[in-house]
Amino acid sequence: MYKIVRKRELASNIFEADVLAPRVANSAQPGQFVIVVADETGERIPLTICDYDKEEGTVNIVVQRMGCSTKKMDALEEGDYLKDFVGPLGRPSDFVHEDIEELKKKNILFVAGGVGTAPVYPQAKWLHERGVNVDIILGAQTKDLVILEDKLGSVAENLYVCTDDGSYGFKGMVTHMLEELVENRGKHYDLVISIGPMIMMKFVALMTEKLGIKTIVSLNPIMVDGTGMCGACRVTVGNETKFACVDGPEFDGHLVDFDEALRRQTQYKAEETKIDERFEEECRAQGGAN
């Protein structure tokens, strides 16, 4: 059992939690994820490690309410326990193994969208702490959904916020912001790291291909075990089948078959909807206990 030490709302449908999991905290590196099971009947769902405190033994996760499993997690309070919490899974970001002096020479830009904003933080922080400067584009649909602005601001050289509806920051999508920076504001980047909804990463990769910038994306396909045992997470990268949980989750964005990845993400849609409806019904039956 893994205790939820702290929990906080970040936006109307996003919350963060610090979970006591000393073994995970001790081995975690930027780019990795955990698999969480909320309770006895719960499913295994992957969540990115957004921060970790080796001393306290806690791991920070940021979760967007989607269906049954994320709602179940949200129903838990500080002091409650998650049934299972396993990790760190996946390969750490490539830059972790690179020479710091080489990294310092590079202009790195993170492009974050939606709940993908959270996993950018440990990466940008890791680089920042080692004296590597990074810029960050943070995108959200609307002002209320902009999360972690302060945190990201504290580790970025430049933070560019944009909203689809223009309610805050630059009006437009992250791809527009990216294009604006490179084409009109004379910015030069050697590496783009993009994390967010699959569809966003697809368009970022298309844009950077046009702009000629190497791009890393963090894929989030459906997973079960997260250790290479089931193949649910298969993605095609450079015409080869990869298991995102062990070969990734980060890949060269210009080699990923995004259309296949988007299609595979919807594989259990009908079943998930049914499970979510059952969950909502149970909650109502309990008089909306939560």
Partner: protein, 469 residues
């Protein structure tokens, strides 16, 4: 009694029509009277070839003799001397190729139902709460066991009985390995049988830490250097699914048997009150012919699908257990023999709509001694299905070797270990599927047992009889 001594006492099973719609156990086991009657068919022959057929050398005539005398508790004690999982092996061991194939009774008539009797004795002991474990005084040495499948369970149990302080590290959230994530309820009930046997292990003092992926959460070197373990046993199995590498394999509706079975068994997707989804499919083709293929097909059938097994050789070469093939057939699974997929075809939305298959004929025997299937030219045809399950086998996960300095593997990614389980790295032993590639429960147990002896010898030679830490 009217039955001839040449015939085996029949065993009760759920009716095929009924069981095709539920996940309850197929075989219901012997009653006490039936067990005694069957046990009496053993002629207690002097040279008892059956023992040689059992990979863990169970004293078969001795435990059967006790059953024949109605001494069921004694029978269970005999089994406990040799095996930690009698209720499991009695159910899933390929008895027909091991202990039973050499039984003297089999020369004229049916072999003694050794497996079914083993199961009976183990079930009886469980139902009657018989305590079987005895441990020696603690010796202060710590051993880490990685993986809680049959190899890990056996190794941990043996060492705990010898007085070692044993901790099992398991990647998944439930212990049991293939016994819980792979083999379905209708062959091996998890709660009743597997959980009980794991409970026995905990009674011996074995600690189990789930949710620890060795190689990720912690490495072998950290276990040895930082956590003070004197030796390690790797029993991490062969869990990596193999795909065919044909076009269309990443279409929606193509699953590995591991995914399908894990969702259903470990995650209990067949139950309405569990959250994990499964795509049951309406028309399901399972590719392969081993136990895994049978289990996946029979699971799909129970979830309501019309199901085929597609196998490139003939019925004679099916690697699955005869009993399981028979069960599958009577439940309504259909077989397409001498058939191999060449491409999976999708509809405009990217879901499976058919498989393009090729007919095969059998040529000369290959290295495995089985006749090699050869494609028949111009025989291609389309086979309409909406779901394809790949059950082509598995190989060991490279996670541990790739994160452990000095641990050698062979060209199939199997960890190299000698007869006592010793690997290329000092203090690190291995056994079971991770060494042999996917094999059987009883072979994994045998390897776990030998490695326990190897570890005992290694530690005592190096550190003496007791730890002075």
């Amino acid at each position: 009694m009217s039955r001839s001594k040449f015939e085996r006492v029949p065993i009760a099973e759920q009716d095929p029509k009924v069981r095709a719609t539920n996940f309850d156990e197929v075989c219901l086991g012997y009653t006490e009277e039936e067990a005694i009657e069957e046990a009496k068919r053993c002629i207690q022959c002097k040279h008892h070839p059956c023992i040689g057929g059992c990979p863990v050398d169970i004293d078969i005539p001795r435990f059967i003799h006790h059953i024949a005398e109605g001494e069921f508790e004694e029978a269970a004690h005999v089994l406990a001397e040799y095996t930690a999982l009698p209720a499991v092996c009695g159910r899933v061991c390929p008895q027909e190729d091991q202990c039973e194939v050499v039984c003297v009774r089999g020369i004229r008539g049916d072999a003694v139902a050794i497996g079914k009797l083993e199961r009976f004795a183990a079930d009886w002991a469980r139902a009657n709460n018989i305590e079987l474990g005895q441990t020696k005084e603690k010796n202060g040495f710590k051993v880490a066991v990685i993986g809680s499948g049959p190899a890990g369970i056996t190794c941990a149990g043996e060492l705990a009985k010898e007085g070692y302080d044993v901790t099992i590290f398991e990647a998944l959230h439930e212990p049991g390995g293939v016994l819980v994530y792979g083999i379905p309820e209708f062959r091996l009930p998890t709660d009743e049988v597997v959980k009980h046997e794991i409970g026995n292990l905990e009674k011996l003092g074995v600690k189990i830490e789930t949710n620890v992926v060795v190689g990720k959460t912690i490495t072998i070197d950290e276990l040895l250097n930082d956590e003070g373990f004197h030796a390690i046993f790797i029993g991490s199995g062969a869990g990596l699914p193999i795909f065919m590498g044909i076009p269309g394999e990443n279409l929606n509706g193509v699953f590995s048997a591991n995914e399908y079975l894990t969702r259903n068994n470990l995650m209990k997707a067949f139950r309405d009150d569990y959250d994990t989804p499964i795509k049951a499919g309406d028309k399901v083709a399972v590719i392969g012919g081993g136990n895994v293929a049978m289990d996946a097909a029979r699971t799909a059938l129970r979830l309501g699908a019309e199901t085929w097994i597609v196998y490139r050789r003939t019925e004679k070469e099916l690697p699955a257990r005869v009993e399981e093939v028979h069960h599958a057939k009577t439940e309504g699974i259909k077989f397409e023999f001498l058939t191999s997929p060449v491409e999976i075809l999708g509809d405009e939305d990217g879901w499976v709509r058919a498989i393009r298959c090729q007919r095969m004929e059998l040529g000369e025997p290959d290295e495995s001694g089985r006749r090699r299937p050869i494609p028949i030219e111009g025989s291609e045809f389309e086979f309409d299905v909406d779901t394809v399950i790949m059950a082509l086998g598995t190989s060991p996960n490279p996670l541990i070797p790739s994160t452990t300095e000095g641990l050698d593997v062979n060209e199939w990614q199997c960890v190299i270990a000698d007869d006592e389980g010793q690997t290329s790295k000092e203090g690190v032993f291995a056994g079971g599927d991770v060494v042999t590639g996917s094999a059987t429960v009883i072979l994994a147990m045998g390897a776990g047992k030998k490695a326990a002896a190897g570890i005992d010898k290694y530690i005592k030679e190096k550190y003496g009889e007791k730890s002075h830490a």
